[in-house]
């Protein structure tokens, strides 16, 4: 009887160790993925346009309270200034989240996992399809300048997985970015 009890306890212990180890591996993989995603997002400059700049004591600096949440919805913009014919054909708001050029006016997207206004409901396949094709969800309208999706499309599937995993791990920020405007409605 004692032997049977000991065997049961030992089996339970081994099972617990196996489950814990497996969970730890999953957690470690996730943490590794988040960390590499953070590295890629930082090195590729995603924050340059998807995190609004604010003017601080040292000049423009990213407003990390709005990290990767795109163009601030409450920031009402007047019509973009008209530029004379010539090579200067693009202007940007001081936040670097709103851009105007021959394509119209584009606003940088909310990449945080907010389900209503960000990419919280996106699956990894949606994200990959968007950056691989340069089309919204791989099927909709084209992504607009200055989004350098061709650079992101050059990432491996494993890198894209890490970028997406990282983006899903950051704080969700509710911010409904405006729709782009065609040139006629600037």
């Amino acid at each position: 009887m004692l032997l049977k009890s000991l065997l049961l306890v030992a089996a339970a212990g081994i099972g617990l160790v196996l489950v814990t180890t497996a969970m730890s591996d999953t957690d470690r993989d996730h943490a590794r993925s988040v960390e590499r995603g953070r590295y890629l997002v930082t090195a590729m400059g995603c924050n340059d346009c998807h995190t609004p700049l604010k003017l601080g004591p040292n000049g423009p600096e990213p407003d990390m309270t709005r990290m990767l949440s795109g163009h601030p919805a409450e920031m009402a913009l007047p019509p973009a200034p008209g530029l004379p014919e010539g090579p200067w054909n693009t202007v940007a708001a001081g936040t670097l989240t709103a851009w105007n050029g021959p394509w119209g006016t584009s606003f940088t997207a909310n990449l945080t996992p907010d389900p209503e206004t960000g990419i919280g409901r996106w699956k990894e396949a949606d994200f990959a399809a968007t950056v691989r094709t340069g089309r919204h969800l791989g099927r909709g309208r084209n992504l607009l300048p200055p989004m350098p999706y061709q650079n992101v499309a050059a990432l491996t599937d494993a890198d894209l997985h890490d970028v997406f995993t990282y983006l899903q791990s950051i704080p969700a920020i509710a911010n409904r970015v405006p729709q782009p405007l065609p040139p006629a409605r600037q």
């Binding site: 089309r135 099927r139 729709q179 065609p182 409605r185």
Partner: protein, 360 residues
């Protein structure tokens, strides 16, 4: 089998293929079991033609025409299918046919002249190969287009550019539904037709013809006994639901990658239509600039309806479909306008609703 024997077998196959006039790559791909297929460099090598010099279609390649075709800026289209000898399509799920390995489909696009022929082939690994062949101006040959496509490869009849799609463009539409084949289905081939595309001819076979030839098996009895048709309150509504099915539902359905949007314009022979339920009075994510709240369809008001506005536009930020067209399908837009204005007018909808309530 020793290497020498492999070499002898391959040589024998090539000689046999040459004798029978069958493209060798088809035989070798079919024999490779799980191997994926690759598109050949020239259209003539796909086996579409019995005689490439006269472009006579091969006898085991059959023509068909879907009743709700995709609008491509007024292009004239011809379509063909070939199944490997002795194989058939499993039609037991009327909304998701399963095609045998080796199935080939072609679709030819022409304006003033032939422009391109798109091609699909199901490989042994279960993956479809997508390719398109661009016709030479003299119409004598068609060569494989670059994988990235060709923007503005030529002009359509109205002078707008015609783009040769990239492989990703092909996959964007075709991989939105389980079977990936869009125009060859029970509904699309049905003999109960409301086709808007001119040019039907006897050589283009319909559902019954393919069943009779043994190309389609296990089609549910109800569709063998009565040609499948979209259930609708009027012929106009049937035509509209068919148009939305043929032009929008490859993306906007409840089974594919965009299901989360909750806009289902697919007509399912098993489930019917959810187009009205998922669009009429439903708030749109895409908001029209001049409205506080935009809805996909506002009954009685086409110009306040996002769906109508987007199919009426070719502004790249607004247009639907988002790819594959530069010219508005004015006849379809007029049809949808009348449907929203008259069939979906609030009074009509209220009648339908109260009648539905009474039935319950």
């Amino acid at each position: 089998m020793r290497p020498f024997e492999w070499t002898r077998l391959a040589a024998a196959l090539l000689v046999l293929c040459g004798t029978l006039g069958v493209p060798a790559w088809i035989v070798l791909a079919a024999g490779s079991g799980s191997a994926g297929a690759q598109a050949p460099r020239e259209l003539r090598e796909t086996g579409l033609y019995a005689d490439p010099s006269t472009q006579r279609i091969a006898s085991d390649v059959l023509a068909f025409r879907p009743q709700y075709p995709l609008w491509t800026d007024g292009a004239r289209k011809r379509r063909w299918i070939r199944l490997p000898a002795g194989s058939s399509i499993d039609a037991s799920d009327p909304d998701a046919w399963r095609f045998p390995v080796g199935t080939q489909l072609w679709k030819e696009f022409a304006y003033e002249r032939r422009v391109e022929t798109r091609y699909m082939q199901l490989g042994g690994d279960g993956r479809w190969v997508y390719a398109t062949y661009v016709w030479s101006p003299d119409g004598r040959s068609a060569s494989l287009a670059p994988q990235r496509g060709l923007r503005g490869a030529c002009q359509s009849t109205s002078g707008a550019p015609h783009d040769i799609p990239s492989e990703l463009d092909c996959r964007a539409c075709h991989q939105g539904t389980p079977s990936e084949v869009l125009g060859f289905s029970a509904l699309q081939l049905s003999s109960a037709r409301t086709s808007r595309e001119p040019g039907d001819n006897a050589a283009e076979l319909q559902l019954d013809d393919f069943v009779a030839r043994g190309w389609i098996r296990d089609l549910p009895r109800e569709f063998r006994e009565r040609a499948p048709q979209i259930a609708a309150r009027s012929e106009r509504e049937r035509a509209v639901l068919g148009y939305l099915h043929g032009n929008c539902a490859s993306c906007h359905n409840a089974r594919g990658p965009l299901a989360e949007l909750g806009l289902d314009l697919e007509f399912s022979l098993a489930r019917g239509s959810s187009a009205v339920r998922t669009s009429v009075g439903v708030e749109s994510r895409f908001q029209l600039a001049e409205l506080e709240r935009s809805e996909r369809i506002v009954p009685g008001a086409p110009h306040a309806s996002v769906l109508f506005r987007r199919i009426s536009s070719r502004d790249p930020l607004l247009q639907m479909p988002a790819l594959g067209t530069h010219v508005v399908d004015t006849a379809a837009v007029e049809l949808v306008s009348q449907w929203i204005e008259q069939d979906l007018a609030p009074a009509r909808l209220a009648d339908t609703h109260s009648s539905h309530q009474r039935q319950r």
